[in-house]
């Protein structure tokens, strides 16, 4: 029941926000903030809950379309709860970052924002594959509107590309889901889309491999991973700040979540065979996108490419498929959610102040905006993996786990950490250090961070430091889930399959 409440608060909040615009264009943001805060508070009831050994904290199962054995099955375990808390937390941050930036059509904006969040919460809790697909698509449409209506100069192109990439890959996943359901029909005599039923399906064979690939393409497009990543830089550079925050912080994580929850456990054998290829793609993502990031002059594009690079670690960890690597992947998802969101907000904040994202026009900002520069430095070194902050814990665990699976991939991936330091420090150097440079913009509005901005950047900093200093509180929450998943897939250690 609590899960329905969580989702409907956001859906209803969205509608209310839209309606409240009729009274005053400043109301929607208040309504939206209230809805997300309430959601986060309600979620706290799940955080302390003690799973009864099965890892599932709360479940809800109701008939929906009996003709095909489709049920309205929602459930949450530690992993879902972690992801939901991240979603709600970043939801608050997103509302805060849109607070002054979005001044037109505010009602519809917050409607879309909350519906995206509702879709994401649905994705993190759905345990019926049809329902999962339903939410998977629902979160796209409002996101499309956010980019297409409130985006920047090239918004139509970016929004269209985002939608078509995710939608087409989603259709492949739909086919795979149907193949899986049909397997169940053949093997057990009735249709079912339920996760637990489908886990029992024997998916070995060539068709199983193809079906796994359908899931993989959908999730790695969302993640995104090389070679399906090209929509992300466009979407990020065109989206309004709040859109980028949700996109980088939350939407990308649904791809990783899908891999952990569905792609690997449903197709253990095919995944094991495929692991070397997936890890290769992960390493290519890490190195190639780090390299490409270095060549960008648009700050938002740069951060987008670094996101792809960091998501490569997540993919590497998932396909190493052991306790450490998975824990690392989950930690990276959380930490990257905060650090990438913060960096996009900084970039968005800069763009809001000086109306350009081109780094070639910037330089020496430290003297003018010291607080903003400090915050940027903090999140940059968090992103590059400084020990003591969350990202380090995540990436370190991933590498530790991946090392057991494949030494070659781990060594190659570790270079990503070095590249990350190079581009992060280069950005800091270029924008904030040196002599003040203003070649082509109006800097009359270049003001330092306001108290409100400091407040939410501060909240994210605390989050990252917490993750870095005492990661155990997060690891504990996800460990039951991950152990279960590892048991379900029969402790398949990919080391045997992936010595190259």
């Amino acid at each position: 029941m609590i899960l329905i409440v969580l989702i409907s608060i956001l859906f209803l909040g969205g509608v209310l926000a839209w309606l409240s615009e009729g009274l005053d264009s400043k109301f929607p943001r208040v309504v939206a903030l209230t809805a997300v805060v309430i959601d986060l508070l309600v979620m706290m009831a799940l955080v302390g809950a003690d799973p009864d050994g099965s890892a599932w904290i709360v479940q809800l199962n109701a008939q929906w379309i009996p003709r095909f054995g489709i049920s309205f099955h929602l459930a949450a375990d530690g992993l879902s709860v972690l992801m939901m808390v991240l979603t709600a937390f970043l939801g608050i941050i997103a509302v805060a970052s849109a607070w002054d930036e979005i001044t037109e059509r505010t009602g519809f904006f917050y409607f879309n924002l909350l519906w995206t969040l509702a879709g994401v919460i649905g994705v993190f809790t759905a345990l019926d594959l049809f329902l999962f697909f339903f939410f998977w698509e629902i979160m796209l449409i409002p996101m499309y509107f956010i980019i297409a209506i409130w985006g920047h100069e090239n918004k139509n192109y970016a929004a269209m590309k985002f939608f078509i990439f995710t939608q087409v890959s989603g259709m492949l996943m739909l086919i795979s889901i149907l193949v899986l359901a049909y397997f169940h029909y053949v093997q057990f005599g009735w249709f079912s889309f339920d996760y637990f039923d489908l886990l029992k399906v024997n998916t070995s064979g060539a068709l199983g491999m193809w079906a796994m690939l359908g899931f993989f393409v959908a999730f790695s497009t969302k993640l995104p991973s090389f070679p399906f990543h090209s929509w992300l830089p466009d979407a990020h550079s065109q989206a309004p700040t709040a859109g980028s925050v949700i996109l980088a912080g939350v939407l990308l994580k649904t791809g990783a979540y899908g891999l952990i929850r569905f792609a690997v456990p449903l197709f253990p054998e095919a995944s094991m065979q495929f692991a070397p290829f997936a890890m290769t793609l992960a390493v290519i993502s890490i190195l190639y996108c780090a390299k490409v990031a270095f060549a960008q002059t648009d700050i938002k594009r740069l951060i987008a490419y670094t996101s792809i690079s960091h998501m490569g670690f997540v993919m590497l960890g998932i396909y190493a498929w052991n306790e450490q690597a998975l824990q690392g992947a989950v930690m990276t998802m959380l930490a990257h959610g905060l650090s990438a969101a913060a960096l996009f907000m900084l970039a968005g904040g800069l763009q809001h102040r000086i109306h350009t994202r081109d780094m070639d026009h910037m330089g020496g900002f430290w003297a003018k905006v010291p607080r903003l520069s400090f915050v940027a430095l903090f999140f940059s070194i968090a992103a590059l993996g400084m020990p003591g902050l969350g990202n380090f814990v995540g990436e370190f665990l991933v590498l530790l786990g991946a090392f057991q699976a494949s030494i070659a991939f781990t060594v190659a991936a570790a270079f990503g950490l070095i590249f990350a330091s190079v581009y992060s420090l280069w950005v800091i150097q270029k924008i904030f250090h040196g002599a003040y440079r203003n070649s082509n913009f109006d800097d009359t509005h270049l003001s330092d961070l306001s108290r409100r901005e400091m407040f939410y950047f501060g909240a994210m900093m605390i989050g990252l430091i917490w993750m870095g200093m005492y990661p155990q509180s997060f690891l504990d929450m996800s460990s039951a889930t991950l152990t279960n998943l590892l048991n379900e897939t029969g402790q398949l250690i990919f080391a045997q399959g992936s010595e190259l």
Partner: protein, 487 residues
């Protein structure tokens, strides 16, 4: 044989619509009144819909060799009558200011509906041709209706003529195929086809006969490569007539094709499967690709309807491979979904247009969302449904088609379907994007008076059905499943 009055009961929906058309004709003879004729038409079609709904549970009989009245034909009688009623309601404000006689339009509409009802109840070539020609003849008139209007918005004569010539050619194909079948078997029922190979001239003869019939039907369904007429006719016809052609015309024709293929067992010939596969793939690609280049809403919907017919044909091919009724259910559900979303999409265009000025360029939808949020929401929902996005009936329809194709193992066609739908997203999103652009340099839409109120009500109902069947499809699914068992 019909011996008593009771035997006529199953024909009640047909009789009601026929009576309505007679009444409309008499009414025009006695005293012309646009409002009264419109009212009679809408009431008659509503009555026929309700009667057909009430008959669904208990009627199942072959009435003379020509007509089969079972749950399936009644389901589509409901669809046909309800859509005709919706279109009558939408037509009413559209032709309200036409500077010509307006009443006969409703006469044509009711007669066309008679034809459509006969088609969905037919399992015999004679009734097929009778129904088809009744429908087509009336459509020629409906397409050309604003012909004598000095301020007509479009090129109705060109459209009507094109449709007349090509449709007659298509009918000739069907008749020729029938003649070949009749020449060997001596009967004209669909079932006779299965006796053909045994009749002496072998498989090749049968295949030729079948191909004749199928390609004639493909003409009417505007499947590629028989689709050339579609965009021009769609564009030239007045909006409600286009919508009639696109929804009732296509749905009735597809039901005939479905019955013909399944009764005659035409897919037992491999070459027929190949032909239908190729037509399906070509339609999905051609429809979606050509729609990319269009700026006219009616032309976009024309090409998208070609693609949608391709999706349906895919399910028809799948019906040969699957056990059980899943493919027939897919076709049935998708046809209903297609009718709802097309009616909605044409309906939105129709409520802001009139016979003097049609808003059919996508440029004219710029900023619609900010000017008229409710209308735009309905339109967006219809377009997303056509694109197959969840929460809408179009998604459940696509889901059915995917499922039947997966069961049938038609991987190649599935690939084309994904590709086609992916391309399709682009042109649907283009229209949606326009609606969100700032409302600069825009022409004012027609503000309809009190005569247009019911159009908005109809759109609201269509939107409601679109979302209801998309979110909670279980009830309609069970209706579709029971009806499909009769095929």
């Amino acid at each position: 044989m019909i011996t008593s009055f009771n035997d006529l009961l199953p024909l009640l929906p047909l009789l009601i619509v026929t009576a309505t058309s007679v009444l409309v004709m008499l009414m025009i003879g006695i005293r012309r009144s646009y409002i009264t004729t419109g009212f009679i038409t809408i009431t008659g079609l509503l009555a026929a819909t309700l009667v057909a709904v009430s008959m669904m549970d208990w009627t199942n009989q072959q009435l003379t060799p020509l007509l089969i009245i079972d749950q399936y034909s009644l389901l589509f009688t409901v669809v046909v009558c309800a859509s005709s009623m919706v279109l009558a309601i939408l037509s009413f404000p559209y032709f309200f200011e036409l500077d010509d006689e307006r009443e006969e339009y409703f006469l044509l509409l009711t007669i066309a509906t008679i034809g459509a009802i006969v088609m969905v109840s037919s399992n015999h070539f004679v009734s097929t041709v009778l129904g088809l020609e009744t429908l087509s003849m009336s459509l020629y008139g409906m397409i050309a209706y604003p012909l004598h209007s000095a301020k007509s918005a479009k090129f109705p004569l060109e459209a009507s003529f094109k449709y007349l010539v090509l449709s007659a050619a298509a009918s000739a194909f069907i008749l020729f195929g029938m003649a070949l079948i009749y020449a060997q078997t001596g009967t004209l029922s669909f079932a006779s086809v299965s006796k053909l190979p045994a009749a002496g001239l072998g498989d090749a003869y049968t295949i030729v006969a079948l191909l004749m019939v199928v390609s004639g039907m493909a003409f009417k369904l505007s499947l590629a490569p028989f689709h050339m007429w579609t965009p021009d006719v769609y564009e030239g016809a007045p909006l409600p007539a286009t919508a009639y052609l696109a929804t009732v015309g296509k749905a009735a024709m597809f039901v005939v094709l479905l019955r013909f293929i399944s009764i005659s067992d035409a897919l037992s010939f491999d070459s027929m499967v190949t032909v239908l596969t190729l037509i399906a793939a070509a339609s999905m690609l051609v429809g979606n690709l050509l729609a990319l280049l269009q700026d006219n809403l009616k032309r976009i919907l024309a090409y998208s309807s070609i693609a949608h017919m391709g999706y349906l044909l895919l399910a028809l091919v799948a019906s040969h491979y699957v056990t059980g009724t899943i493919a027939v259910e897919a076709i049935t559900f998708y046809l209903i979904a297609y009718v709802i979303m097309s009616l909605g999409a044409f309906g939105v265009a129709s409520v802001i247009s009139s016979s003097e000025k049609e808003f059919d360029s996508i440029k004219e939808y710029r900023g619609l969302f900010w000017r008229n949020p409710l209308l735009a929401t309905a339109f967006i929902a219809m377009l997303l449904s056509l694109a197959g996005i969840p929460l809408t009936v179009g998604f459940i329809g696509k889901f059915y088609i995917f499922l039947s194709a997966v069961e049938a193992g038609l991987w190649m066609l599935l690939g084309v379907l994904v590709l086609g739908s992916g391309i399709g997203l682009y042109y649907y999103l283009r229209i949606i994007y326009r609606m969100f652009m700032p409302e600069k340099h825009v022409q004012p839409y027609r503000i309809s008076g009190v005569e247009g109120v019911s159009s908005y009500a109809v759109l609201a109902i269509l939107l409601f059905l679109l979302l209801l069947f998309g979110v909670y499809p279980a009830p309609i699914m069970s209706i579709v499943a029971t009806a499909s068992a009769f095929i």
